[in-house]
């Protein structure tokens, strides 16, 4: 009588073990990508289209940060790593293939007379030291500083480019996505903000009253970003180590091909110039 429940427990364990053994991993080719959470959504849509074109192949995308992508490729836990920056000097053992550029543009209202801002002026505006457009050659009106919410990749890129820390920013408006940024600046002639350059160029071309500001003398456009000349941009890389297997090589080539340009722009990134 006392032994019955114990037997029952063993039976349950046994059944569970059999079940586990029963649904073992399916064969077929399997590709694992890990790394930057900025690239992960793009990699997911690339993987979807790649899987559709290659039946039987599974591409698993795992997010966790660029550092994780590098570490996993080195340890052999992932076939391909996703790194949203250029490789560092001590990462010479890895090979990087750029699949897109992530660029951001400073935008102001179309009616704002200020033609350009220097890097120092932008820093002063975003840290609250400069509060009036008059000081940078504009009208006599207070500046509305529009900043991105914490955790956004555009915010990270913006901060690292200007070498600022997040707590140093004095923002009047905090926005979430690009569309919200465009709407905020388009509706306020005194606002300054920054959004993904693809979105900004598209909206300005469509007649939305926003204007893109040149940075360090470089014209803000997807063309200069694609060429890697625009300062506020970073490459989105797929990295690997040593020889790639057949299917992994196919995937990297696919991710760099013009047939996925729509997916890249769909995620507000810029396809690289050399394809």
């Amino acid at each position: 009588m006392k032994l019955v429940p114990r037997n029952l427990f063993f039976v349950v364990t046994l059944v569970a073990a059999l079940f586990a053994a029963g649904c073992s991993r399916q064969s077929g080719e399997h590709l694992v990508l890990t790394g930057s959470s900025t690239i992960a959504p793009l990699a997911t849509v690339l993987a979807e289209r790649f899987e559709a074109a290659h039946p039987g192949v599974k591409v698993d995308v795992q997010a966790g940060g660029s550092a994780r992508g590098v570490a996993d490729v080195r340890q052999g836990l992932a076939n391909i790593g996703m790194v949203s920056r250029a490789l560092k000097a001590d990462e010479g053992d890895l090979v990087a293939d750029t699949i897109a550029q992530d660029g951001i543009a400073m935008i102001v209202h179309r009616d704002n007379p200020v033609a350009a801002l220097t890097r120092e002026q932008i820093i002063a505006i975003y840290t609250g030291k400069l509060r009036d457009w008059k000081a940078v050659g504009g009208t006599d009106a207070p500046i509305t500083v529009v900043n991105k919410a914490e955790g956004r990749s555009t915010l990270e890129l913006f901060l690292s480019h200007l070498k600022l820390e997040a707590p140093a920013i004095r923002a009047d408006v905090v926005i979430g996505d690009n569309q919200q940024g465009i709407k905020t600046v388009a509706g306020n002639p005194q606002a300054i903000g920054y959004v993904s350059i693809g979105t900004a160029e598209y909206e300005a071309g469509r007649g939305t009253p926003v204007r893109l500001l040149p940075l360090d003398g470089v014209e803000p456009s997807t063309a200069t970003v694609a060429a890697g000349r625009f300062p506020l941009s970073r490459p989105l890389n797929l990295v690997h180590r040593g020889e790639l297997s057949g299917i992994a090589r196919d995937f990297v080539a696919f991710a760099r091909s013009p047939q996925v340009n729509d997916l890249v722009t769909g995620q507000y990134f810029v396809p690289p110039a050399v394809r």
Binding site: M1, K2, P5, F9, V12, A16, A20, C23, S24, R25, Q26, V32, S37, T38, A40, P41, L42, T44, V45, E48, K58, D60, V61, Q62, A63, G64, L77, G151, R152, S153, G176, D177, N178, Q179, S196, T199, G266, Q267, Y268
Partner: protein
Amino acid sequence: MRVEALDRAGRSDRLHGRWMGLLAMLTLLVPLLLIGELLVDGLPALGADFLLSAPTDAGLGGGIGSVLVSTLWVLAVCLGVVLPLGLGCALFLVEHVRAGSRLERALQLTLDVLGGVPSIVFGLFGNRFFAVELGLGFSILSGGLTLACMVLPLFIRAAEQSLRQCPTGYRQAAAALALSRWGFARRILLPTAAPGIALGVVLASGRALAETAVLLFTAGYVTRWPGSWFDSGRTLAVHIYDLAMNVSGGSTNAAATALVLLVLAIGIQALAVALGRISRGVSA
């Protein structure tokens, strides 16, 4: 004079009552605002299609069907491990360990320490141990087992407390009737403690459903329909996080997914309460 003082006391009591009432209303306002905001943002995207199809276009298109299934699988693995292990441990603590003994103190300390460990530490541990050392990879199994480690102390504590609330009279009556220890535990102790245990299940699954960082490292990020529990599968919380933070224009679907998660959590709560009531009814 005295009557006046009493009157004043009565008046200040009434005033205090009103203040407390106002504060209570304010606390009620928080969930109302939260749900209202989610409904306004997410309801337009919600529909049968949304619940039944897999995400496309990084979550901007399609639905959350596969994500929902992965979530339920992860939860099932987690509870499947936590329930037998946690109940066993709680019964052992209540029935077989002498209060104040060294073993009891050691167990309690272990549970307290485990309960206080931040979830991200469990995530790193689960990634290292289940995904890498045991070779389970990014999979529903890794995710469920890691979550099980995380919520085990919480569940054991809840189960233990409700087991301890069983009146001593029941125990004495059972002993007088020469009922075996197991017989007592099965027929009397567990049914009387059932509502408390059900609450433990609610707490455990609530914490499991809320987790993102842990699951990002173990169950993973893949939105395909899971074919087996060795497949990687994204859970609802991870999906919400990704849509809100990494995908431009994902906020509507994030809100819709949050609504589904909310309904799921409330559903589990209702189910657990109902089960607890039924098992108590059976025993009575």
